[in-house]
Amino acid sequence: MRRLIQRLRYWTGRKRTERELAEEMELHRAMRQEELERSGMPGKEAGHASRRAMGNVSVAREDARAIWIWPWLEGLFSDLRFALRGLRRDRAFALAAIAMLALAVGLNATMFTVMNTMLFRGFPLVQENDRLVYIQEQGPSGCCMSYPDFEVWRSQAQAFEGMAFIAERPVTFSDGGESSIRIVPFTVSANTFELLGVQPMLGRDFVSADEGPGAAPVAILNYRFWESRFGKRDDIIGSTVYFDRAPATIIGVMPDGFDFPTQSDIWMPLAHTPELHQRSGLAIFEDPGGFLAFGRLRDGADLDEARAELETINRSLEAEYPETNRRVVPTVKTHSQFFVGQDAPMIYGLLWAAGWFILLIACANLANLVLARTVGRWREFSTRIALGAGSGRMIRRILVESLTIAIVAGALGWWIVNWGVRGWAAATASPYQILDHTVDSGRLAYLVAISVAAAIMFSLAPVGRVLRLGVNGPLRGDARGVTRDPRGKRLAAVTVATQMALAVVLLSGAGVLVRSLFNIVGAETGVRDPENIVVGTLRLPPDRYPSPESRLAYFDRLEAQLTSIPGIDAEALAVSLPVGNRYPRAIEIEGRPSPPDGSEPVGLLAVGPDYFRVVGASAISGRDFNNGDDRPEGLPVAIVNQRFAADFWPGEQALGKRLRAEDGEWRIVVGVVSNIMQGDPLRQQFYPLIYVPFRQEPPPNQRPASFLVRTGVPPDQVMQVVRAEVEQSDSGVTLQDFATLKASFAFNRDRMPLAHAELGKNAAMAPIFAAIALLLAAIGLYAVVAHSINQRRKEIGVRMALGAAAQDIRRMVLGDGMLPVAIGTILGLAASLAVNRVLQSQLVGVSPNDPLTMAGAPVVLILVALLACQIPARRAMKVDPTVVLRND
């Protein structure tokens, strides 16, 4: 350490110290001369003799300097100056190299950050996310959770430091004023925030007494809600708000950016209602994500241990309560498995790999560029070697230049990462997926590491060449001898082939993903002109509309208002929109024994009389619903879809048959209607469906209802009016998903099964990567071909002088350029057969070896490659033999 300070002191005062050293040595010499003169030597001779005695003064001076300053450090500075000068001189090269590398490292590090976020980082602000596991139950009838089971886990399981339970509770919220809104707070175990390791920023956390029987109702606010609803008032703590008109006290505000487990405005202590304590688990109205338990693993315990332990407990519960717990197993998952999906590691691993493909392609380009540049400086390098520069010194010079490029590119890449991650976060934000998108020093370290690795990668080829470079070659004649080195040519061909192979893999991967997405959003839904249908989903405040009669009265009012809007052709209510939920029920068909283990449940939808007219379904046979049917006391009728008729009465007349849902009343089938997509989020199949009149089976309390309006005018002209009418019908009603039906068919991750929720992001990212890869590969090919033509101008001139036509030259250039492209394409296709198989679980309605994609990807690639070769080929054709040959 002291030495370092000494060195620094020397460095700052080095001019003076060096002068002093020179003075000192000169004094030494002068004294020697005087001494010699005194002993009788003539003055001039004494001067010479004294100098001889001193030895090599400049070497000594250099040695003295080298003691203070590490010589390599000094050399590094000189190399850096040299590199900067070189790059400034060759600005086009520098800019191209920096732009390409910045893009590649930026994308790569962005994908790395995204992958980390999706797979490992969990919730923002939460401590040690990787120790948290999320638990639900899976039974024969589906998910979700039974609180009594949870209590057994909590008291018996050893693998956990603590566990907490979370349940949704939709309520109307009011802060005492007139207006109330419907919100869906989470009710949580009192130890939830403590387990997460997050403290309220204002007020206090829940304590176990808050959860106990008869405790005063309390609530903790989300920062966002505190800001939007209360304008960040500090005195909010202790004030009273109303949930379903019952007062509660606000006791805290959570810090900014905290959401758990999905977006929510308010947290309340778990309400120990009789329903919660039902052994059979909680009734689920809509989002099954609303009930879950989570636990923090004890030190040393891991996910598998926890799972095994809970499974054991569940088996004993099954023995104890065979009625309710038969075949009920716990599902224990990490954050990424629970909120992003089981396939998340594959999906984001592949996206990251795509980032590496891009980086490799860019490095191959850079290697070729740097190599071409080094070849252009052969004479300079040879001269330096001839003058005694060691090859180590030359290699260092190349490396320093590459590192300079990498550092600048890395800085730009850092900007791309920040920008890219922010863009990604904004574009993919979902209220059901809370993620930590902060870009921290770990990401910076990664970026620096890959930038340096890239610099080393693309310096390897030129370094290899320098090592083989002798003094003789280039200095002797012109550069021809070196540049036609077949090894260099082979290297360029290999890089081109590799780039093309990588591009093909990305193109075909992107192809099958995009086709999957199109297979979902472009699927036949059975709806005619969905762009002319305006839809919305309504939630009635449960406290104001407790009875079915009151709800029906509201719907009467709403329908009257909607039909009065000019420009509207038809209007209908429905419990669910096309493509939405199908509300499956067990059914019974008259004259058939109901299967003992429950047949496959069938979707049953209550729809208004004009529903089929609005969606544009065609009647196959029978009649439509009419207003007479659409009364609570109307004739019990049903309309089935084609698929139902074909499944249950193949070759028979469906009309007049009778059926019923579970224990409902018997209904007569009065019509068969064309298939409309329902209940399959991936939109790959039509399920059998039964339609019943809306007012005979209106949605139960808490369940939403939808309306559909077919407009005769462009929908944007009436949407404002429709919204106004809905809001006027009752200010307490919340209107959700208000859009055209066409817009509601767009890909929405929150409505997809978790396994395909990330498909939208994949299918959006993959083509971007593929396009960039294609572009970079094309640039690389262009550069290689153009460079080789530059080197071969004389040869081309000779060929032309000997009678080659322009077409022959073109054929020669294209042949040379396209051969590695063809090889790369074939290799790439082989590789993508393997890669696409990994993607299988993400694909919808398309095979991993989709022929269209597998044929399309090489065609696109070869077209682009031809274009990239064509430009230099044209230049080659313009070579004038007389000029080229005279020039030598």
């Binding site: 030495r3 000494q6 004094l27 030494h28 004294m31 001193m54 030895g55 090599n56 040695d63 080298a66």
Partner: protein
Amino acid sequence: MQFLRSTSDDALQVGESSLYPALQRLLLNGWVKAEWGLSENNRRARYYVLTAAGCKKLRTKHEQFEERIAAIRKVLEAT
């Protein structure tokens, strides 16, 4: 320099300027201190003085050297 040459009976002879890198190394390690002063005939000259750390180092090095020489001698005489 002269001292070196005369005490070693001219067996050790080095270029006089190579004294300076050695002095610089001693300076860097803090084993000597350098001061400007006046020489006998009133010229600016630099004087190097052994520091305490330098003395200690010299002693240990000297001992090590003696040990090593003794060892080599023993080996040589044994053959």
